[in-house]
Subunit: 367 residues, 2 copies
Amino acid sequence: MIAVRSSCKEFAKFLKMSVTHCFVDCYSICSLFKIHRWRQRAGSSPALGTKFKFHNCYFSVIVHTRFYCMDFIVVAAPFELTLVEEKHEKIKKLYDSGLSPLDEISEIASQCLKLIANLKFDDYGSVGNKNYICYHELIYSRPIATELFISDPEEFEASWLDFIEKIDSENCSCQLEVLNIDRIIYTAIMSFAICYDIWKNSSRKTPGTHFEILLGSIFSRFFINHNRGKHISLPDGESLSTDICFSNKNEIFVFPAKTTTRERIVQPYAHQRILDSISPGQYRSILLCVSETQRDNKKKKVNDICVPGTIKLYQEHLSKLTGIYYLDPPVRYLSQDILKLVKVGSIGELLKSDLSNIIKLNQVGNE
Amino acid sequence: MIAVRSSCKEFAKFLKMSVTHCFVDCYSICSLFKIHRWRQRAGSSPALGTKFKFHNCYFSVIVHTRFYCMDFIVVAAPFELTLVEEKHEKIKKLYDSGLSPLDEISEIASQCLKLIANLKFDDYGSVGNKNYICYHELIYSRPIATELFISDPEEFEASWLDFIEKIDSENCSCQLEVLNIDRIIYTAIMSFAICYDIWKNSSRKTPGTHFEILLGSIFSRFFINHNRGKHISLPDGESLSTDICFSNKNEIFVFPAKTTTRERIVQPYAHQRILDSISPGQYRSILLCVSETQRDNKKKKVNDICVPGTIKLYQEHLSKLTGIYYLDPPVRYLSQDILKLVKVGSIGELLKSDLSNIIKLNQVGNE
């Protein structure tokens, strides 16, 4: 712990060394970062997650304390993380304006992979035949399935280009092995999520947003005759927020995108039910997820959090999802009692063949 | 900050003073609390939330650090909190065995009110004509509506006894003013929630569980001819977890109980829909909540987080809730556009008159 209270100069000197995190008293941080106004205004510390940039390090407040001289604790992240954040903002803007920033999505993943390369990781055992690790620096990342993760940035960039080239937009499919498709998309989202888990833990929703943008951009290459949206307009001026949807004059495909479902599994079912009530037969929901893994810190292992009974109940009594697709499907959902009610598979399968079959089926139905 | 590293004795001396929280290095805490095994076993610090008891203070790990000598941070809570925790466990057991531990619920609220009496609080402004405060010590509590909160333990105990006495089980109503009923139940849940917000922040779900037990126990006095449950058994061996339900041979009342709804508002609607699909007309859902308030730390104010469009949509296209009742109803939901679709009111209103009307209506319907 550095005696920042005694001297701001000392603290500044210290920052030039390779800091990873530090405790800072309010007076010093106020002088250093010129944030004196906080104290003056509210008599309180800056909010959790507040960022400072100083000497090529950026700091964010991770916990408040009221212990003696220390008033809050800041954690420093590598400067490059600010570039990742800026790129994410840019990608979001491009996506919201209707574009599919596939190059930028590849670049940000590659940047994240380079940042991750400096991190330590711990083995978190295996679930079925899949091995998991968690990266860490002060805080632990979500579990990563090693089989699905391309840790080399150059290998990832080449694979991504290959994937995008092999998308067959006409036939709504992809000429790449299923496992390769899964690995590329998995790496694209997880590299970003690891960085945010570790250095931007207060931005919990951002990896989910990035997952939505990532899939929306990729799927746009498959739905070249549909319009992409985020909401479905309903009668009475209401609208339903559905993550990703693709519509033409006959049909609307709804893609709820969740990194994990947890208790949110009810939402896509409820939405499909509402859509069925408003316009029977026009809407098809396909749920897209990363995984259902959860990190058990005590036992240093990974659990799949599955609710097979709930899925059966919802699929039978609430509404019908057309499919549930994961990048890392939980084994429990691939058993026969679930599969006889709803198709569960990997997003690679969906993009390689299932999507084109679903669209064809729909066209036959509409004719 | 105490130089715990230099001397465990010093630290022990320090603990005898009135500590509220402190930073402790791993070596000292291990010696003091005889938890050396952590280091030996996993080479890591104890998990977040891990508790130690020492010198009549109990400590729990609130954040991990890797900064120099300090390895984790513990926060100390008043010793009496352990009594609250023990009582909560006891109440839970009694409730789960089918009892309604109303005396214990009053006692725990009174204990919590005594603990809170030592806390500072900040004004968090007003929403409509309701004023809010937040209690704090290192961490801030959820917002408390002063009008609804009885801060004097003795006044609370007397009011509680009066309330229980005035329950008219035969007529399923209560001979007490609506505002008084709301204040008593609001104080019972919020006194507990404040303590957990501040000293047991890692047990985020416990106040919700306590709210369920509190309402389930009170409502048992109103439903003397029904059986209380937590789950509804469905065909195929499935079951629906519904917080509180009361059933007899003709009807089942379902009471989802949530301190706030947020995105979970979809769940009671989806459950009612499933129940309608399985057995039309047999089930009635009435949603019970504390409030929809949210603390805005930056502006030091309170916001009501409302989703009127969503409620309208669900009520029209998903299923029909019989009512939505709050202890502190958000003003937005008391406007005509919502009320014409679904009854929204206070739990005081429900217990004073609405519940008996709903039950009578149901009996007419079943005859």
